[in-house]
Symmetry: C2
């Protein structure tokens, strides 16, 4: 395995042996340990001392189902803390098959010129980016790069938002159809932009592939693992049929669907924008209601959403984005939401952060509530780099500050996503305490709180939530290290053999004999490294708090508040 360092100051590539301390790591465990080791916590996230690292998961590049996630890590321009964000697409599997454990980009060139990092069996080179893709939308830029580097090349790209170093810029990852997935959160696209790296292109033609210590054992375990995914009602039925957008009606029913900038947890138009409506619309129009974001995905929660003429609009059209625009910003039309989602992907901006920020702009009176056309125009302004566009592209915390607002749903400057913490209290603890800032995926307590996966813990009560959030955060840090899609968690929480099969795959691939305890230990070690980085960057327990308005305002229909004491919150990281 190789450890690649691309130094953009010296314009130099070094191919190193994998340092011993990183040998057993992959995905998030590798990116976070690396950032904690090598990035100065007080550095400017857009300066030459930040480093951005791409690491395939431990199982990426193998035939393990759903193992194609790429982890991207750096100090975040949005939160100022450590960040790992992961995405599907074909990038991770290609890097892994080339034997690349991690690709690090450090330094920054003096010249104001963009580059492409070109990775293939011949090595890694830094090339000038084609001038015609600079400032262009991701759809066009990916097409141009695919034309130049091959249709099958994997691509990670910074869109116009990343070029402008906006704090909500994402890293977009090409999927097998030439469309996009996003390592969305925390502004990692801005870090890529600050290094003047427009894109990384990976061609694994002729790559050796991933060695498997015990192929027979691996195949058997992969089969058991696939069975668990297909057997579980969420991953086997709900997600393939309706995508993640199935959650709209579920959360609305539960009273936890934040509406109109978190003023209430339920609205009357949820069904217009929910997964059932989406699936029916796609079918009626001849789109694809189910679709894999990477080879080997058997959950197929993605889709290709099309217009009335059957033309492609967007894919990876997720619940959180639809919630942000459709419920938090009150845009009641799924087509309008789809065009905004496409525009956000095209400009390369996190769709959660941006949707929440659009709702704030509505709350501040910049555009009317629910006005999808005005919201689309705002996203257009991000791409154009107008002052207002740049502001929206800098995220909710900054926008809230500029408009003098007190109701700004962020933790560590990152927007709170689609589950009201007053009505889904377990996930609220995750928002408050995750080293990533508010992030549902960091400890998805919606499982036991709402979906009754992995047991049931009353979402409106405090009992059991601390342990739930803590255990899920630990488990997630480990799962995010495997390259596995987080949705496998549904199956492994409920089906014991699913979890065992996951561990068996790791053991068969690496010739190890890991146990469940080792997995837990890895998760804890990752969280501790992340939290340690944040502490050195200046974070304290005072940052592990939700905005004051959640304490003070009741959330209808349950009329609950956020009522954890500071001591209770601080127990989450007491391990």
């Amino acid at each position: 395995m190789k450890f690649i360092r691309v130094n953009m100051t010296a314009m130099e590539v070094k191919v190193e042996e994998v340092p011993q301390k990183y040998a057993g790591l992959g995905g998030r465990s590798l990116t976070s340990m690396f950032v904690a080791d090598e990035v100065k916590p007080t550095c400017h996230p857009l300066g030459k001392n930040n480093k951005i690292v791409f690491a395939p998961g431990l199982l990426s590049g193998t035939t393990a189902p759903n193992s194609g996630r790429i982890s991207v890590g750096a100090k975040s321009p949005l939160t100022g803390g450590i960040k790992e964000s992961n995405a599907g697409g074909s990038f991770s599997q290609k890097l892994a098959r080339l034997g690349i454990k991690a690709l690090v980009i450090e330094g920054a060139p003096k010249e104001d010129k963009f580059y492409v990092i070109n990775v293939n069996t011949g090595g890694v080179t830094i090339e000038e980016a084609p001038q015609e893709i600079i400032g262009k939308g991701n759809y066009e830029a990916i097409k141009t790069l695919s034309g130049k580097y091959g249709e099958k090349a994997g691509i990670a790209i910074a869109g116009p938002a990343g070029e402008m170093k906006l704090a909500a810029a994402n890293v977009s990852i090409k999927d097998p159809d030439g469309n996009m997935r996003s390592a969305g959160r925390g502004g990692l696209g801005a870090v890529l932009g600050s290094k003047k790296v427009k894109a990384i292109v990976v061609d694994d033609t002729g790559a050796p592939g991933v060695p498997i210590a015990d192929q027979t054992a691996f195949s058997a375990a992969a089969k058991r693992f696939a069975k668990a995914l297909l057997d579980h009602p969420v991953t086997g039925q709900g997600l393939p049929a309706y995508g993640t957008d199935i959650l709209v009606n579920i959360l609305n029913e539960a009273g936890g669907l934040p509406t109109q900038n978190f003023r209430r947890g339920r609205n009357e138009w949820a069904n217009n924008i929910g997964g059932e409506t989406m699936a029916a619309t796609i079918k009626e129009r001849g789109g694809k209601p189910t679709h894999s974001c990477h080879t080997g995905c058997i959950i197929r929660c993605s889709q290709q959403y099309v217009d009335k003429a059957g033309e492609y609009i967007t894919s990876g059209f997720e619940y959180e984005t639809i919630w942000g625009l459709g419920s938090d910003a009150c845009i009641k039309d799924l087509d309008e939401i789809a065009y905004i989602d496409r525009a956000m992907d095209d400009v390369g901006i996190d769709s959660i952060e941006t949707a929440v920020t659009i709702a704030l702009a509505m709350d501040a009176g910049v555009i009317p509530w629910g006005d999808g056309k005005a919201a689309l125009d705002l996203v257009g302004q991000i791409g154009k780099g107008t002052p207002l566009g740049r502001l929206i592209g800098s995220g909710a915390a900054v926008t809230g500050k500029v408009f003098g607002m007190t109701r700004v749903p962020v933790v560590k400057n990152q927007s709170i996503p689609a589950y009201d913490p007053r009505a889904v209290k377990g996930v609220g603890l995750t928002y408050a305490t995750s080293p990533m800032g508010a992030d549902h995926t960091a400890g998805y307590a919606v499982t036991a709180n709402i979906l009754r996966v992995g047991g049931f813990i009353d979402p409106l009560k405090k009992d059991g939530q601390v342990e739930l959030s803590r255990n899920l955060q630990i488990a997630t840090a480990a799962v995010d290290s495997t390259g596995m899609c987080l949705f496998i968690a549904f199956a492994i929480l409920d089906i014991a053999d699913g979890f065992n099969a996951l561990v068996d795959m790791l053991n068969a691939q690496y010739g190890l004999s890991l146990t469940a305890d080792d997995v837990t230990a890895l998760g804890k070690a990752v969280l501790k490294a992340e939290r340690g980085f944040n502490e050195r960057a200046g974070f304290t327990k005072a940052h592990d708090r939700l905005p004051e308005f959640f304490d003070e305002e009741e959330c209808p229909p349950h009329n609950t508040t956020w009522d954890f004491t500071e001591e209770e919150i601080d127990e989450v990281f007491n391990f």
Copy 2:
């Protein structure tokens, strides 16, 4: 003495006895102890849980020379930490003569309507603000309020920037001529705006005045104190003749005048904008080259700067503002700078924060370097509340973030003022460590570094700077408690009897027998309370750092960098 609480939620005024713990405090010591005691450190600074407190200094309202400063304290919307900002004008003396130790404003009304707090011998009332002053500039609003409440009424007012709750909004204080001084830093005008308090009006007609325990001793001490001020070359000659703008040529000569967003410490046009040119221009045009900002000021560093026709443009036209626009933003014409200064006063925005932010906007390419007309237009946009105007009015840290910049001269989100920390290293330590964020007045090491007041410590070397900054920060916290203008420090640092006379005045007024040690102990206690608040708000040593670019870029002409180690910086608060 009375302790007034104005509750804007209940629309209720309570007149309380002064709590025993605050009996010996005034000015900054009172505001900071109060904020540390009563404001929840993690509260939203623009929410109802923040409190803003106005406290006259211990000597305010007496005949002590230069004792008319009002301290304003709250949690800062700019820094997120504790804030004390003080100003001249007639407000402090009038509050003190009414026997008011502190006026606290807490809570916030639900209704979107502005109020005036009216203070006189009859009591304190909350009245609806005259509709015609809402959204209007401070010059016009003060005129309207003076017409309504009396020409001699003291006024503290939030301008349009404060109404909009912009993080750099100041609190403007009417001076005896009906013009303005500013409690400029940290966005306290936004806190006033968030309480929906447009202005506080104080009429001390018929007030009892300040009781003096030993009038004879007080008068004798005041006389000695006045002598020290008049004997010292800075306060007796330099400041009255040229105002604070005398520093332009001095700092330029010293190579510490930050130019073009801190790219170098010297420029070729300094003399165009320096105090000598200003004084000559004012004299030639028939303005007032010297002027008191409050009754009893004998330094008279202010002026009335006029246009070619002799018409008033601005006063309190300070070095730091002129530096920010004239050197940092490269606007080479003093008249253009004067009109921008007037516009900033009129909109009610901190002129240091805004000038530094304008230089950033130039650096980001929003307007051309040195373009005074474009800069004036930007200030106009603050008043109009355009997205770009609101952004500029939110200060340098936010603006730098939105434009993806790495060279952003702020500490704790507050702009670094007019002395390059690489060339005036003592003041750099103050910027780094003051609980206020970057603030030259918090420990003005320019004294010994550049002016050779209170000894000499080589500004380009590290030796002795830690002790210098520490001692000055402690002394300043005490001086800021007396109501004294900070410029008395020049005299008391060099003339022993000046300091003794200050202590003697306090003892004669209050019937005490304080010593120099008591003054030091007070300063230390204030700093510890402030730092304690900040720690509870989430600040750590990681926030006591200058931006990275000062470490990495040499500052011509001396080509020095900021080279203190973290351990050395942390020694400043080791007491």
